[in-house]
Symmetry: C2
Subunit: 125 residues, 2 copies
DNA sequence: TTGACATATTCCCATATAAGTATGTATTGT
DNA sequence: ACAATACATACTTATATGGGAATATGTCAA
């Protein structure tokens, strides 16, 4: 099975850096395609295609105005992402606290737990 | 140019539903691969491959224990995602407020706010 | 040492890009 | 009506999957 389509959901859609760039650019104001092209320095067809993907997953909305099309980020569609990320925020705090505790423990005269690496091998990469 | 590698960053790595599932599963506790396999119902090689991707972008950490490998979500690596999503949270509120204001304006002065759905369309899935 | 057990890695292949180029389609000005 | 403007879509191609099958690697137990 191949990779899931970029239009399958918001997660796949924002995997592309250019699309994230467009979303951020459109978050402030409605913009027409030409402005986006000028702003992010990509050719018009590419921008249109990215906008097409974003449209299909409802990450942007469009409005016609004469021969222009005004795009705007639909912040609501980012919600699933936000919730996913937020789920880990608690653990993020936990881990921070643990690190902090370890640091403090090491300073204490008794030194209770010399080695307790949370992540033994910093995933090389 | 083809799509960016799933190992290029966290955004690409989490585009895969199975990997999000694994991340959520590993968020609570350290788990060995066999447990993950049993939990998400995917064959072992596939799970290992997903874990490999998550490892490369540092979304999970590993620890060896005998013949087992204990994986755990590295919540810190979710940060970029969280920040990206959070950027839109303000606009999300804005949009909600606008919708709310418009709704209220259209309504009779009495009946203040009968329905106020936080998520207009329950983010399916 | 040998075998069982737990994971990782390699190979194969149908599929989905993303960028570039070319072309199609509305809509407006004159 | 006609040309220009603003976008969208079609086509081509190099590339990266993700799952299944088979195999390799590493560790423990007898």
């Amino acid at each position: 099975m191949a990779r899931a389509a970029t239009t399958s959901d918001a997660f796949n859609a924002i995997a592309e850096p250019r699309r994230r760039q467009i979303l951020l650019y459109l978050a402030h104001d409605e913009r027409q395609v030409g402005e986006i092209v000028a702003a992010i320095g990509l050719d018009q067809p590419s921008v249109s295609k990215h906008l097409g993907v974003l449209r299909r997953v409802n990450l942007v909305g469009v409005r016609r105005n004469g021969r222009h099309r005004l795009y705007r980020t639909n912040a609501a569609a980012i919600r699933p992402l936000h919730e996913f990320a937020e789920t880990f925020e608690r653990y993020w705090q936990h881990q921070l606290n643990r690190v902090k505790e370890r640091a403090e423990a090491q300073m204490s005269p008794i030194k209770p737990n010399p080695t307790n690496p949370i992540y033994p091998k910093p995933p090389s990469r």
